[in-house]
C-alpha cells in the first residue's frame, strides 16, 4: 500500500487529509496521480492544478519517481511559510 497525504487548500478541496492506495510493482508517481484523478470530481480537477508539489517519503521529487510498497506520498500547493 501507498500512504497518500494532502495538505492545505488541496486537503480542503478534496475533503480528506489522506488515504491508503494499492501499490503495484513499477508504479511511478505519475501513475499514482493518474489513478487518483480517475476517481472523478473533485479528484480530476484538484489534482490537475499546474503548481502541485509532490513529496515521496518527505522529500520533494518529480513525477518520474518510482514508488516502493509502503512509501509515503504527499500532494500539496506551493508553500507559503515564514
Amino acid at each position: 500500500m501507498i500512504k497518500v497525504l494532502f495538505f492545505a487548500r488541496l486537503r480542503e478541496e478534496l475533503g480528506i487529509d489522506g488515504l491508503q492506495w494499492p501499490w503495484q510493482a513499477g508504479m511511478t508517481l505519475a501513475e499514482l496521480l493518474s489513478q487518483l484523478q480517475g476517481q472523478g470530481e473533485p479528484w480530476a480537477s484538484c489534482l490537475a492544478q499546474p503548481n502541485l508539489l509532490t513529496a515521496v517519503n518527505q522529500a520533494i521529487v518529480d513525477s518520474q519517481e518510482l514508488l516502493a510498497d509502503g512509501d509515503e506520498v504527499a500532494f500539496f500547493p506551493p508553500v507559503t511559510g515564514g
Binding site: 495538505f7 492545505a8 518527505q58 504527499a74 508553500v79 507559503t80 511559510g81 515564514g82
Partner: protein
C-alpha cells in the same frame, strides 16, 4: 560553541508562542566557560504576522505544516548554509497553528566569525524556507478566510541563491 555539523535539534516547529528574548537565550554562543571565542557576528531574523498581506485587514492567520517533512527540510537548510559559509551555529524555530498580528512566525539565527557570512547565511535560510519548507498560511479577515498564494518574488529570491557561485546572490 558547536564546531561540527549543526544537530537536528536546531530546527524546530512549535505551536506555542515564540518570544525574541527566549529565542536568543537558546542562542547564546558562550556560557562563560569557553576556552575559544571564534564568533564575531550573530545575525537573527524574526518574521512577524502583519495586519496586511494579500488583503488589507488581516485579523489572524493559521499555519498548517507537514509534520516530519518540515523538520527535515529545516534541518537540511541549516546544513546547506553551513556548507556554503563558515558558521559556528545556526537555529531555526517556526511556529504553527493560529496566530495574531504582531506574533512571531519564525526565528532564524546564525553565528559566524565574519559578518558577511552571518548576514548571507541567515538570509539564505529564510529565502529557502519560503520556497521549500512545507508550511501553508491561511489568513482571516473579519468576514472571510483564504489560503495565501505563493509569491513570485520568493521564488526569485531562492533562485538567485542557486545561481550564485561566490556565496552571495547575483
Amino acid at each position: 560553541m558547536k564546531q561540527g555539523n549543526i544537530p537536528p535539534q536546531r530546527a524546530r516547529v512549535q505551536s506555542s508562542p515564540l518570544d525574541l528574548q527566549g529565542m536568543l537565550q537558546h542562542f547564546q554562543p558562550y556560557d562563560g566557560q569557553s576556552d575559544e571565542y571564534p564568533t564575531g557576528a550573530i545575525v537573527s531574523f524574526s518574521g512577524l504576522v502583519r495586519d496586511f498581506n494579500e488583503r488589507p485587514e488581516v485579523t489572524a492567520l493559521t499555519l498548517e505544516h507537514y509534520p516530519g517533512m518540515t523538520e527535515k527540510v529545516l534541518h537540511q537548510l541549516l546544513l546547506e548554509a553551513q556548507t556554503r559559509w563558515q558558521l559556528q551555529d545556526a537555529l531555526v524555530v517556526h511556529r504553527v497553528g493560529r496566530m495574531l498580528p504582531g506574533d512571531i512566525i519564525v526565528f532564524v539565527a546564525v553565528a559566524s566569525s565574519h559578518r558577511k557570512d552571518a548576514f548571507a547565511a541567515c538570509e539564505y535560510i529564510m529565502d529557502m524556507l519560503k520556497t521549500r519548507a512545507p508550511f501553508w498560511k491561511k489568513e482571516e479577515t473579519d468576514n472571510d478566510s483564504y489560503w495565501v498564494d505563493a509569491r513570485e518574488s520568493d521564488a526569485e529570491a531562492a533562485a538567485a541563491w542557486l545561481k550564485a557561485h561566490d556565496g552571495h546572490r547575483q
